[in-house]
């Protein structure tokens, strides 16, 4: 967090409210209020100039969903509408700014749970309307990339963006801020989903990612020989066979330590991700590899990707751990980059639960 400095009011975009695209509407002093309600975190943040995080507040609903072992959509939506006002107020208070100083409001419009998304979108549009400032609908997946760039805003293109979360495993070629191309993805389970399922099978607590990370630290990662599905070495990945191999192995060897299984499983996932990322980076001549999503908080993935980047002469950008999981600072940041390109969203916009990376929106 940094000290607040007053923005020069001449640079704010309120006079251009009706435009959908146009000249740059954001600069280093522009303050964006970000709102994120796509899944099970209710979050708000205040970010100045795209990367200066003045505040970031996340209210997790983890406890409310934990007993179901997954996210319950109706419970998530109820919690968002109850919690969001306090979260927004706290974000503004921690940033030490009055709501009237906000220059634009950004909210996640997708992908995610539709009922959950609509809470944030409705609050954000109403706020933008009365403040007479632009509303910016943000793609949640794109925002995960900006989480990585918060600390490294000058990372160089072309960039390989590796997005690994509970719902997504994507290798994305980025030639510039507004140019995305998905060049590899999972053909079955997402990386985070595989972590969750294996953790559940091993009797580890939900969510599975941190639990496996922790158990792995105590286990031996060569204890169990597990397959690495390389899919004829294209850029797609698959984790379903690995998950099945874990289950079959444990059933055949019930005495095996679950720490050893966790460590062997985690090593296999990381091997696949790092191998594919290196291959993809070579293919697009990437200068930077950026990681994003909840699985990007995994210790082994972070260290192995950094090591691979050093070996290949590619800089690797890692978000801080709290910026890997869902937050609103990344939403505000992604919103700022869109606003800088003059892209604002009309107030009759809704949510798009199936929004893809690089599709539509513009």
């Amino acid at each position: 967090m940094s000290d607040f400095t007053a923005p020069s009011s001449a640079t704010t975009a309120s006079s251009l409210g009706g435009a959908t695209t146009g000249n740059s509407m954001a600069d280093a002093s522009t303050i964006v209020l970000g709102i994120e309600t796509s899944c099970d975190e209710t979050a708000a943040a205040v970010v100045m100039g795209g990367t200066d995080v003045l505040s970031s507040v996340v209210a997790s609903q983890l406890d409310e969903h934990a007993r179901f072992g997954g996210v319950v959509p109706e419970i998530a939506s109820r919690a968002h509408v109850e919690t969001l006002p306090q979260v927004v107020a706290e974000a503004l208070e921690r940033a030490n700014i009055d709501v009237s100083r906000v220059d634009a409001v950004a909210a996640t419009v997708g992908p995610g749970l539709v009922g959950a998304l609509l809470v944030g979108v409705s609050a954000a549009k109403a706020t933008a309307l009365v403040l007479d400032v632009p509303f910016i609908g943000v793609n949640h997946l794109e925002a995960h990339l900006y989480a990585a760039l918060l600390d490294e805003p000058h990372a160089q293109f072309p960039m390989l963006f590796v997005l690994v979360s509970g719902g997504h495993t994507l290798l994305v070629e980025m030639t510039n801020h507004d140019s995305y191309r998905v060049i590899g993805q999972t053909i079955d389970d997402a990386a985070g989903e595989a972590f969750d399922k294996v953790a559940r099978f091993l009797g580890l607590p939900y969510p599975g990612g941190p639990a496996i990370d922790k158990a792995s630290a105590r286990g031996k990662d060569t204890a169990v020989a597990l397959p690495r599905a390389m899919l004829n070495d294209g850029l797609d990945v698959s984790f379903s066979g690995l998950k099945t191999a874990v289950i079959n192995y444990v059933r055949a060897n019930p005495a095996i330590s679950s720490d050893d299984v966790a460590a062997s499983f985690q090593r296999a996932v990381v091997d696949v991700l790092v191998h594919k990322a290196r291959r993809a980076a070579r293919q697009i001549n990437a200068k930077t590899i950026a990681l994003g999503g909840g699985v990007a908080a995994n210790s082994l993935l972070r260290s192995e990707m950094t090591r691979a980047g050093a070996a290949d002469g590619i800089s690797v950008v890692l978000p801080s751990r709290e910026m890997c999981t869902d937050n609103a600072a990344m939403i505000a940041s992604a919103g700022w980059y869109r606003l800088r390109r003059g892209e604002v969203t009309a107030l009759d916009a809704g949510a798009n639960p199936n929004l893809k990376l690089g599709a539509g929106q513009r």
Binding site: G70, I75, V81, P85, L347
Partner: protein
């Protein structure tokens, strides 16, 4: 006192601005699954057509249900955000009460009890009972048509049904009540849905009587009348 009313709790989205007991502007739209898309432009339109700036609003009121869960949350989320950004009080209004408030005095002649109904989906109905003096005698609840009819039989008073659920189930209600059916009547289609006009008027009335101070962070609770479904949808779980 100028109050902005919002209603997105049913298939009919509406917005109104009232000054005291006078409706300055209002708008409504049949919006089955587009509440979030329709609401913000409608607020903009209604407030501007009333010749007002947002900072001239003294309070915000919203229908908190019963009704469509996603719909009511869209309205509540917007109303909470508006009240916070404007630093004005926020009033939550029960949609069944808003339905009762719309009944004209002429329709309530010979009537002792008004029974507002709102479709609660899954073949159930959200309902309550109010006396003609607008006092609530049975609190909002949700159940099957049979529960509603049992409540009516128990009262044994002349009941006026309003709301689109009652109108659509007119024949079932008549046959279900049997010999007691002569003692009920039905509101016309103008009384099918709650409307933001009544939401704002009820809020105004309440603000006159309760010294509602602006909350630091304005919030209202939704009237779900039903526990959340605990169904995990792995397919739509798209984030971590």
């Amino acid at each position: 006192m100028i109050v902005l009313g919002i209603d997105t709790a049913t298939s009919m989205v509406s917005v109104a601005v009232v000054n005291g007991t006078t409706v300055l502007a209002s708008s409504e739209l049949r919006s089955d699954r587009r509440h979030a898309e329709d609401l913000t432009p409608m607020i903009d339109f209604v407030v501007k057509r009333a010749g007002l700036a947002f900072r001239e609003l003294d309070a915000v009121a919203v229908n908190v249900g019963p009704g469509l869960f996603t719909g009511m949350r869209v309205g509540i989320a917007a109303a909470q955000a508006l009240a916070y950004a404007l630093s004005v009080p926020l009033v939550g209004v029960d949609g069944l009460e808003a339905l009762v408030a719309a009944v004209p005095a002429a329709s309530a002649e010979h009537v002792e009890i008004i029974v507002p109904t709102i479709d609660a989906r899954r073949r159930e109905v959200a309902w309550a009972m109010h006396s003609v003096e607008s006092r609530r005698v049975v609190a909002p609840q949700v159940g099957g048509l049979e529960d509603l009819l049992a409540g009516v039989r128990e009262r044994g008073q002349h009941c006026l049904f309003v709301g689109d659920f009652a109108r659509r189930h007119h024949d079932d209600i008549i046959s279900g009540l049997g010999p007691q059916a002569w003692n009920v009547s039905f509101g016309d289609d103008a009384l099918d849905w709650p409307h933001a006009k009544q939401v704002a008027l009820i809020a105004h009335e309440r603000l006159l009587h309760d010294e509602a101070l602006p909350q630091h962070v304005p919030r209202v609770g939704a009237l779900y009348l039903r526990e959340a479904d605990a169904e995990i949808n792995w397919v739509t779980r798209s984030n971590v």
